[in-house]
């Protein structure tokens, strides 16, 4: 059943976005931190990288033990790559490519984010 959850999440590139989902006001997200957005049956972790003025989105599911926790992880940077550290075992993932930076776990899916009129939008291809 877990593996079917994982299938829900595939990296979406900006070019393939067909739906921009209006998630919430930007002010609801913590500075330099994350929160979880529900879109249909998906859980998406959205991070407000205030220091760089950037936003990132990825699956909330940590591929290590399949728990919905990544949005509660700490964000940071590894040699210039923005990353999130899972709160359960500190596995870190690139917020740009989804790659596991400190191990050989499967990459996580990432999604495009845009900000319009004070709202956060997440891009999906379906």
């Amino acid at each position: 059943m877990i593996h079917t959850i994982l299938k829900e999440y595939t990296t979406t590139s900006l070019e393939t976005v067909s739906v921009w989902f209006k998630a919430a006001e930007t002010s609801k997200f913590p500075k330099n931190g994350g929160a979880c957005v529900k879109y249909k049956n998906k859980q998406i972790a959205v991070f407000n990288f205030t220091r760089e003025g950037k936003w990132y989105a990825c699956q909330n599911l940590c591929p290590h033990k399949m728990e919905m926790v990544l949005s509660r992880g700490m964000i940071g940077e590894d040699m210039g790559t923005p990353k999130v550290a899972c709160p359960l075992h500190k596995n870190t993932f690139s917020l740009e490519t989804g790659e596991n930076l400190n191990g050989s776990l499967d990459a996580i899916a990432t999604y495009p984010v845009k900000i319009e009129n004070g709202f956060v939008y997440i891009g999906f291809s379906e």
Binding site: H3, T11, A35, C36, K38, R51, M68, G76, E77
Partner: protein, 837 residues
């Protein structure tokens, strides 16, 4: 200007180019590369990763622009169709002609398709190129649309076959592996290790069929199944053939080069074919009557060919080629080296097998017990690097060889250090980097980090399996040079924790971003953020609520995250003293929120299974009942454990409970480099185990004995005596100072025992600082501690009373719903999280 033409742009063909242009002498040559695939060379070893992200770019060995930048002309999507050796020219499928001085054949191999009836049917694939994978993905998608439970088989249970099995799983089809031999990975594993691997793979959902000879592929137009014998049929709707490789040697054959009986172009130890201008490398080269299907020998061949062409004729291919392999198959470590299966006449085997943990280790040693001949590891290959080196270098082994594979016993050092290896030992076999090269890169070229050494030598840049060993070598070499590996917190702060502590205090910095802007670089990470948070807390006694996103996740939510993403709640029960009414209140609240309850090791009650949104609700009720946070989530004081002491106990010398409560309330909320615990015992029978704590008091005739720097946990350590027979006030004063001194000077996540170990002068120096005031700082230490005690506040009370802080306790930012994936099962009349898969 001479021209080198390379036919084939696979991993080995690319490696030839990379090594060629890296040489100074290559300036007088131009390189022309032909590849028939539509894209530049990519990493075929990690082909299955394509299923995870479908990002062909991520697999690229180098981008198309790399070839241009290095003056290499790359022609892709154009097959070379003919070689005219007498004119030294080649002709492509588009009928273009090119002349060469040297020709390098690196056409690799194609998948071997056994002559089984029906292989031409729709739904039968080979596993070799990205195009093959794209074909499979498209087919699997249509299958799944019709039947979500569709099955697919992989023909071949070797290394590649199992990789393909993972690919099938990733595509969402039910995976079946069909192998002709009676075991998996027949070239690398013996039957027992194959059984262990099989159990493991079956546990994650692969179906394994061994000893199956496929007679025919069933179905009309598309495949519907495999037939092994009469009445022995496996229904599958897709088949991936991974039954071995065949060299792509047709150009060699057509142009009359000397060929092997069963294919492959014959080469000598210069990688030269029967034509003195033509070299062959990789999986088409037949060297010592063998085709080598691994990437490391292919790279070695590329290196020899480069040297030969550039006139360095003494560079030759080794007589014996090491076929040792270590890999992660579907998340399972599998390694085999040297002679993995050995007849009993040649030596003895030492075998460790534990099917409950899917572990198998076998080593083969010579009859005289002095040399390691080979071995197999399944499930855990951490010993591989060292074992492989011992084998390669013929190093001596312990008289009891089982020490090589069994866990090191307590106190005993594990066998062998990387520094004991000879300089000639090849540490990184992908890039053929020796121990000598790694150490010289540190010693002579001044590289001081693994990253720099990797850049300079290319070690670790292939499969990465040698990284632990290279790290050891770099650190040990630095140490041997007398260079202290500088303690720095992480890439963002070039300071130790103590230096950063002083900076924050001196410059009166109150904000992480300000600290990073003024004394660090970049954007911070999960290492430096909690360190800074701990420093701010230790200096200003601010709670974790103030800068919540730099806190470790547990501190951010003021609770301990547990296995399924729910939290546990631990109110403070100072000294372990609790009234019946408090217990009733706690019980009522735990019942209301359906929490699992357990007594902790620190004499308090832990309530598990609270969902994120329930935390403030639970705490609101606990606070109303008079409880406060127990900081079980923080790097801070946990508990002060006590025995009942002289109030009840007939042996008690003093009131240990009262003292424990007083001291726990004194230090509660103080954040430190790591968690710390205390204990108070009423007599030397030591029922509170105070000597197993970071600080402990034991009542004796005439006062209290103070012990510091003990702990239980992974490396238990008894606390050592700081002072004897002192009164209570003095005891508190000394421990105040000791704790503040520790908080100021310890490295991140260093407990008091390790801190004392590393402190020059040890316990005598601590006595000098806190009792004799040799540094003249005790007044400062006293004041700092008093400030902490005076400014304590319960951070959970702060959180529930502040709507802004409370807002983060919701699973979704845009919905009131909770996480539906959290699953509990029942356990002894309570509940627990559903087990991890």
């Amino acid at each position: 200007m001479k021209t080198v033409i390379v036919i084939g742009n696979g991993m080995v063909g690319y490696k030839f180019c990379e090594k060629f242009v890296a040489k100074q002498e290559s300036k007088n040559y131009q390189i022309l590369v032909f590849g028939e695939e539509p894209r530049p060379a990519y990493d075929r070893v990690h082909l299955s990763e394509y299923f995870e992200n479908q990002d062909a770019k991520a697999l690229e060995m180098a981008s198309a622009s790399w070839y241009t930048e290095n003056g290499i002309q790359l022609v892709i999507g154009e097959r070379v169709s003919d070689i005219h050796r007498e004119d030294k020219k080649i002709i492509t499928a588009k009928n273009r002609e090119f002349y060469y001085d040297y020709l390098v054949l690196a056409t690799g191999s194609s998948a071997f398709v056994p002559p089984i009836k029906g292989v031409e049917k729709d739904g039968v694939f080979v596993y070799r190129t990205i195009e093959d994978l794209e074909g499979m993905l498209a087919y699997a998608a249509t299958l799944k649309a019709k039947n979500p439970n569709a099955k697919a088989a992989v023909l071949g249970g070797g290394l590649l076959g199992l990789e393909a099995g993972k690919a099938v799983m990733d595509m969402g089809l039910e995976p079946h592996i069909v192998e002709f031999a009676p075991k998996l990975m027949p070239r690398q594993l013996d039957s027992r290790s194959s059984q262990v691997l099989q159990l493991k793979l079956e546990s994650i959902g692969l179906h394994i069929h061994l000893s199956k000879a496929t007679n025919q592929i069933l179905g009309d137009k598309s495949i519907t199944g495999l037939e092994f014998g009469e009445d022995d049929v496996l229904d599958v709707e897709m088949l991936i053939i991974s039954a071995g490789i065949r060299p792509r040697d047709e150009l060699g054959k057509a142009s009359g080069l000397t060929m092997g009986v069963r294919g492959g172009i014959v080469v000598d130890n210069k990688m030269l074919t029967s034509d003195p201008s033509i070299y062959a490398i990789g999986e088409i080269a037949l060297y010592n009557q063998m085709i080598y299907g691994l990437v490391a020998p292919g790279y070695e061949m590329a290196s020899v060919a480069v040297d030969q062409i550039l006139g360095k004729t003494e560079s030759l291919m080794a007589e014996e080629i090491d076929m040792s392999t270590k890999l992660k198959l579907i998340g399972v470590d599998v390694a085999s080296f040297g002679e993995p299966f050995m007849p009993a006449t040649k030596g003895h085997s030492v075998i460790f097998e534990n099917k409950t943990q899917y572990l198998y280790k076998r080593i083969n040693v010579s009859l005289d017990g002095k040399k390691l001949l080979g071995g197999i590891l399944v499930g855990d290959a951490t010993d591989y690097n060292m074992l492989h080196q011992i084998y390669l270098n013929g190093m001596a082994i312990p008289s009891d060889p089982s020490k090589l594979i069994l866990p090191a016993s307590e106190g005993g050092a594990s066998f062998g250090s990387a520094m004991d290896l000879p300089d000639s030992a090849v540490i990184c076999s992908c890039e053929a980097v020796t121990k000598g090269q790694v150490c010289c890169s540190v010693k002579d070229d001044g590289n001081e980090t693994v990253k720099d050494v990797a850049k300079a030598t290319k070690a670790t840049t292939g499969c990465g399996g040698c990284k632990p060993m290279v790290t050891d070598l770099v650190n040990e070499t630095l140490k041997s040079l007398g260079k202290v590996v500088k303690e720095r917190i992480c890439e963002h702060f070039d300071y130790s924790r103590q230096e950063l502590y002083d900076i924050v205090k001196m410059k009166d910095i109150h904000d992480y971003d300000e600290l990073l802007d003024t004394h660090g670089k970049g954007n911070g990470c999960e290492i430096c953020k909690p360190v800074a948070a701990s420093i701010f807390a230790s200096i200003y006694n601010e709670t974790a609520n103030k800068q919540d996103t730099i806190q470790d996740s547990n501190d951010r939510f003021l609770a301990n995250i547990q296995r399924n993403g729910t939290y546990s709640v631990v109110p403070r029960v100072a000294g372990g003293e609790i009234t019946p009414n408090q217990m009733i209140a706690m019980g009522r609240i735990a019942q209301k929120y359906d929490l699992y309850t357990k007594i902790t090791g620190g004499q308090r009650i832990d309530m598990f299974g609270a969902k994120l949104h329930e935390l403030p609700l639970i705490w609101e009720e606990l606070i109303a009942e008079g409880f406060e946070t127990g900081q079980a989530y923080g790097k801070s004081l946990r508990t002060v454990k006590s025995c009942v002491g002289s109030t009840w106990c007939r042996y008690g010398m003093d009131e240990s409970v009262s003292f424990a409560i007083e001291i726990e309330n004194r230090y509660k909320g103080i954040r430190s480099p790591h968690k710390f615990k205390g204990g108070v015992s009423g007599c030397i029978r030591e029922c509170a185990e105070a000597r197993g704590k970071d600080f402990g008091f034991i009542a004796v005739e005439g006062g209290w004995n103070i012990y510091i720097c003990g702990n239980g946990g992974a490396t238990p350590k008894h606390a050592v005596l700081l002072a004897e027979k002192v009164d209570k006030a003095t005891a508190i004063k000394y421990v105040d100072r000791f704790l503040m001194y520790y908080i100021r000077t310890a490295q991140p996540l260093m407990r008091t025992a390790t801190w004392l170990d590393k402190l020059e002068g040890g316990i005598d120096y601590v006595k000098d600082v806190v009792i004799n005031d040799c540094l003249g700082i005790v007044d400062q230490l006293d004041n700092e501690m008093q400030y902490m005690v005076d400014t304590y506040k319960c951070e959970w009370k702060e959180a529930v009373e502040n709507p802004e802080i409370r807002a983060k306790y919701t699973h979704f930012i845009n919905s009131e719903e909770t996480d539906e994936n959290i699953e509990f099962v029942s356990l002894r009349e309570q509940k627990m999280p559903a087990p991890w898969a």
